[in-house]
């Protein structure tokens, strides 16, 4: 074991065989990361839009902080969520530690700043174009923010995708709060980390290939949707 051709061959046959363990890991990964993206999008888009059109004290500091949080280290997020959810922590009674919901929470926190910050920037750019017209129509505040989010809905796909990319690729947070328990909280990235250290390269490599393929496919789909929408709506 150990040579690349061998590992590749092993990976290909694993994928081709539709191995149940492999499929389970992939489905859990997708379930966790997509859930996190949904929550982070629902929270992040209004938050980003509000900061974009809002005029409040400390706005600049908020923008800088939000941008900085895009680079949150996953292990730190994992650690904080771990402390919150651990038996002695404030949310320990929920019994969520080492379950998929804990992983969703951690990833949501991780990618919320990414989606919110990218949305804030996009809405602010759109505001420059729309401001006079909207103010002329008497549109301001929340209505203006929501109108702008809807106007740039196709561009915001990119922000959501960036979040998805980050969520599906990170290993630190889910490792800490999920615990990488076989059949329960084992996802693609944690499996890759574990199997590589154990020397089971075919499984690690096959998951790596699936992960990259999925990310490329999602990005291609989003790109296609955006193109088609822009041709249709201008």
């Amino acid at each position: 074991m150990g040579s690349l051709p061998e590992a590749l061959y092993g990976a290909a046959s694993l994928i081709a065989s539709g191995d149940a363990t492999l499929v389970g890991i992939i489905l859990l990964s997708l379930g966790v990361s997509l859930s996190a993206v949904v929550f982070a999008t629902v929270l992040g888009l209004p938050l980003g839009a509000a900061i974009a059109v809002g005029r409040f004290a400390g706005r600049k500091a908020t923008v800088v902080l939000l941008n900085a949080l895009m680079g949150l280290p996953p292990v730190v997020v994992g650690l904080v969520v771990y402390l919150l959810l651990s038996r002695a922590g404030p949310l320990g009674s929920l019994g969520l530690l080492f379950t998929p919901p804990a992983m969703v929470i951690a990833q949501t926190i991780l990618i919320l700043p990414i989606i919110a910050a990218l949305c804030r920037q996009a809405v602010e750019d759109a505001w420059i174009e729309y401001e006079e017209q909207l103010r002329s129509l008497g549109v301001a505040g929340t209505r203006a923010a929501l109108t702008l989010v809807w106007e740039i809905r196709f561009s915001l796909l990119t922000a959501v995708l960036a979040g998805l990319g980050r969520a599906s690729a990170e290993v630190g947070a889910v490792m800490i709060v999920g615990g990488n328990i076989d059949g329960v909280t084992r996802v693609m990235t944690t499996t890759i980390a574990l199997e590589t250290s154990k020397g089971d390269l075919p499984l690690a490599l096959s998951l790596g290939i699936v992960l990259i393929t999925l990310v490329i496919a999602l990005n291609a789909a989003a790109y296609w949707v955006k193109e088609a929408a822009q041709r249709r709506y201008g």
Binding site: E129, Y130, E132, Q133, R135, S136, L137, G138, V139, R143, T147, W150, E151, R153, R232, Y233, G234
Partner: protein
């Protein structure tokens, strides 16, 4: 008079100044606008026309001086005056939805919006494009849609900031036809332009702006036949060959 019938004209500007970045853009501008004649704000690029339009519309505030409509109620003011910009900004939705959006913002009941919007589209000759996405319309069609959106509530005053400056001659003619129709329907037209031909075709009177100051105000025929101010005469002379 009931609140709905209350008129917002006349509009009076008293000693209005506007400066930005230490530069005076408008300098002690005073005049009054009454209902009736179509008023052309004429002047070269950089004379301060756009800033003046935005001040009247309430998008910006004067550095000093006063701008007073005869009705000060902000809600009625917004409904009774509308502005069309040089470059129309359309929302990413259908032409019809662009108008119903504006009507919704003006608190028109949902059940009445579509009929009003269709009527407005008809008034600019675009009913057949009602369900097309607004952003893929041509420049001229978008500007007519902008006029329809502004017209949908039959405002008392329509402010137009060089509405044809980025359009070709055919589209310009169509826009002018629409503006004339709105004028004939009793809406007060206030239009900024540097185009002398357009000023003559659409205006009843001219307010001539030069370097941020009102230099002359005159009925359209007299302004072109015998401009009183030297700057106005120079502008007419300089502009004519390219009108």
């Amino acid at each position: 008079m009931s609140s709905a019938a209350q008129r917002i004209l006349p509009l009076s500007l008293a000693e209005v100044c506007f400066g930005a970045g230490g530069r005076a853009i408008l300098d002690r501008v005073s005049f009054e606008l009454e209902a009736g004649p179509a008023t052309i704000i004429l002047g070269a690029n950089g004379a301060g026309k756009s800033v003046l339009m935005r001040l009247m519309h309430g998008l910006i505030r004067p550095s000093s001086g006063a701008i007073r409509w005869s009705d000060a109620d902000p809600e009625r003011l917004r409904r009774k005056q509308a502005m069309v910009f040089q470059r129309p900004v359309m929302l990413r939705r259908s032409a019809l939805a662009n108008i119903t959006y504006a009507l919704g913002q003006a608190r028109v009941p949902r059940s009445e919006r579509e009929a009003l919007a269709f009527e407005a589209l008809e008034s600019v000759g675009l009913p057949h494009l009602a369900h097309r996405p607004a952003r893929v319309l041509s420049g001229g069609e978008q500007q007519r849609l902008a006029l329809a959106r502004a017209w949908a509530l039959h405002p008392e005053v329509l402010l137009l900031d060089e509405p044809t400056a980025s359009l070709d001659p055919a589209a310009t003619r169509e826009i002018e036809t629409v503006i004339k129709a709105f004028d004939a329907a009793g809406t007060k037209i206030v239009m900024a332009t540097h185009n002398l031909g357009q000023a003559r075709r659409l205006g009843d009177e001219v307010i001539f702006l030069h370097a941020g100051r009102v230099i002359e105000r005159a009925p359209i025929d007299r302004f072109f036949a015998q401009p009183a101010a030297a700057e106005a005469a120079a502008f007419i002379k300089g502009e004519l060959p390219w009108k």
